[in-house]
Subunit: 468 residues, 2 copies
């Protein structure tokens, strides 16, 4: 944390009247309720980030006769919180290095997308404004220029944000959105990623099924683009080879116990013992609970990369008889020297995300009212080093490493943008871009060139579940 | 045209600097290239509209070293141009009536979405600003309040716009987006429509197949949410009843002759003679051309409502041997008294959309340069009455009637909003909304109530192709 201070902020924009020279009065149209990290003061360039730190929105009042409010989020996720902290770690590291952007300080604006498209769109519109308030088609204030967005998490979130960012030729560097449709340069002109496309994974899963000579399989897909496109491509390949599909089920995106029970019944009724699941761990979790309750054993599960290595799935008690022997393809594992120390150094002050995390792991609170009502007070002196949980576990860094690479890719592109000989630059009339005042499409140009010439996206490795 | 003058406008926003009192300088982030109609001067309330008048974007320069520009559109569509004109007709009619909004003049902002998600998102962001410039999270200027958006055309366009409009609790009333996922109040809280959900259509198509005892069918779906979800539900129902799927093909969204040839080859190779197609007419057209070239006869086609009544498909010469006998479900037909006269009264002046239409149907130009290069000059005296084309054909008003109903639904909601007894209103503390200064969620409340109590969405009727 040598050169960088994390400031927490909650944006809760009130209906606000302000005047502009050209337009008379402007009125903010909605209150967005966003949480995250921000540090832009005295920085040269700002990088955006978006991580699904919470798993869902809280229920809102369905009364249509009062002014609605932007939802809050719930379901704190230790794994994705580690991703967000990894972005902060990478930025600190780059800021302290002398070989990348030696004279340029990187700032950041990071939002929690709450695993929800609407929150991701709220974050994108607010981020594009450049400051705390959302004026999406304008860049307001005299702050440092925005360079790129690292995010937004799952494929359906990235598709929604890429559609808006693309209009502004604004680069997006994703670490976890593997859906094959995001390959389309026509639909998503500024989308890049540090995770391979599901085109490879779906075909590999199909070849796995064919390799073992399985000819009768069931499929389960999440109700989003990741699940739909992933399983569609898988089916195309296996059906062409003569494999028959016993059932095709879809996991609901919002809580629906009846649908989950119905899927378990289908699994039980079917004679297919091989079941292919294309889903995130968050969407799959309710089904795993129901499979455990029904003691559904004697099946072989083929897992997509989003859940095959997930602790949220493997930590279910008594999981082995149900999911033991599951196979799938995982994103390659890597080490990030220094990350463990960074994760252990987080403190619960001035930051409600870490405060919430702290309260959960140490079973205490920093909220005065909750202390009065009998909850144990956090002292802030609790020992992170003694913890052993998904957040501090750096033995299986996969998506985490993709986050790290994504931040470095943006930094390298900015470095190349800055490192430009006058009159020999890549832009019109051999001009260079000015690192203190550039256009997003200029970063996009550098990122694309960087990806073509220097970047090797990790191959996916085969994985057995539960992994050691 | 008694109370309303259609003004044409092209927004081509330049990079623009302006200062706001609170934020220092604001800079527009992108140039949007939007075409449409606008009339807001001296109006009380503004209704938005979005229609896919053109079929695709023009190719843009792929050079990444120069500043990119928002694309223009091409492929003028007579049918969807009729939809846009129907909205203008309905607004004129309402403005001249004394029983609906007697003291309130409705204005409009209508954009061409060019059948493309990116253009629809550009239009939505610009529309939300309220004026010609796009400051989406702000409502700028002292213009009349925005009430709702009628649009945006196909389901994938509506999904993209609904995700943004929903954040602002802004009502959207769709006339052609039948995709079942749009039912979700959680994902699309302010989306309503005057077309039934595909849930009914997919099940009806499945029952049709089962009714005739067909057990071996092929499926073709457009590469969008309409096609994907429509065919998915169809498959679920027929597969449960023991029908087998011979092949599942996907129609590309962008020009791809090889993919189309491959689909025709699959159709030729398959022994399945029953083929179910869930697609818009625009996306299906290239396949129909290729089927004709290969003289693919002896198949029975099951059509979704988006193409079963489309003149763009049925006007192909020699279509009968290939698609004769096609059956499907169509949106109910209706008459709109006075519409024919309105359509025949369009003039090519001050409006580049009608100017383009005029040039195409009369094979002339109003562009001075093109006249100099030898093209025939339009006199403006050409006789619309002598024309017989898809635009002026009012014998099969289906989606057109949905547009008409959508505009009336918004007008009725506004009427109910205005018609409110002081101290007996529906909002907090029994207050009423002010028709000159209301919030979008208040219109949404009225629209929802209106839909629940008064609106009966037309049932779909069975249709044989080519219809008489």
């Amino acid at each position: 944390m040598s050169k960088c201070v994390c400031l927490f902020f909650v944006i809760k924009i009130s209906y606000l009247y302000k005047s502009t020279a050209a337009e008379g009065s402007c009125k903010l149209k909605a209150k967005f309720n966003l949480r995250g990290y921000k540090e832009v003061e005295k920085k040269t360039v700002v990088i955006g980030g978006m991580f699904p730190v919470h798993q869902r929105l809280t229920d809102t009042d369905s009364n249509t006769t009062i002014a609605p409010e932007s939802s809050d989020c719930e379901g704190f996720n230790f794994r994705t919180f580690r991703w967000a902290q990894t972005m902060l770690f990478a930025l600190n590291e780059i800021n302290s290095r002398n070989d990348i952007l030696p004279d340029t300080e990187l700032g950041y604006v990071i939002y929690d997308s709450c695993f929800t498209i609407s929150k991701a769109v709220e974050g994108t519109l607010t981020f594009l404004t450049g400051q705390d308030e959302a004026v999406p088609n304008y860049r307001c204030g005299d702050g440092p220029p925005l360079s790129a967005l690292v995010g937004a998490g799952g494929s359906d979130l990235s598709i929604a944000t890429a559609r808006i960012l693309g209009l502004y030729y604004f680069p997006q560097m994703s670490y976890a959105s593997s859906c094959s449709v995001l390959e389309s340069r026509f639909q998503y002109p500024t989308f890049l990623r540090t995770i391979p496309s599901d085109e490879h994974q779906s075909v590999a899963m199909a070849k796995l099924v064919l390799h073992f000579g399985w000819t009768w399989v069931g499929t389960i897909a999440a109700e989003d683009d990741y699940g739909k496109y992933g399983i569609k491509r898988f089916k195309e390949v296996v059906e062409e080879a003569g494999v028959c599909i016993s059932f095709s089920e879809t996991l609901p995106k919002i809580r629906n116990p009846e649908a989950i029970e119905r899927i378990v019944q289908t699994v039980l009724d079917s004679t297919a013992k091989i079941i292919v699941v294309f889903s995130s761990d968050v969407d799959l979790s309710p089904l795993v609970g129901e499979l455990l309750r029904n003691n559904v054993t004697n099946r072989t599960w083929i897992a997509s990369e989003a859940w095959v290595t997930s602790a949220a799935i493997s930590r279910h008690p008594d999981i082995l008889p149900v999911l033991g022997g599951t196979i799938g393809f995982a994103v390659k594992r890597a080490d990030i020297p220094g990350l463990k120390e960074h994760l252990l150094s987080v403190t619960p002050y001035n930051d409600t995300l870490t405060e919430e995390f702290w309260g959960i792991v140490f079973n205490c609170t920093m909220n005065y009212r909750q202390v009065l009502s009998g909850m144990r007070r956090c002292t802030g002196e609790e020992m992170m080093e003694k913890l052993s949980n998904t957040f501090t576990d750096v033995s299986q860094l996969r998506i985490t490493y993709n986050v790290y690479k994504a931040v470095y890719a943006v930094a390298h592109a900015l470095h190349n943008l800055e490192d430009c000989k006058p009159h020999s630059g890549p832009f019109e009339n051999n001009t260079c871009a000015d690192i203190t005042k550039f256009e997003p499409w200029q970063v996009q140009h550098k990122l694309t060139v960087f990806f073509i010439f220097y970047f090797v996206i990790s191959f996916i490795t085969i994985m057995c579940f539960p992994f050691s």
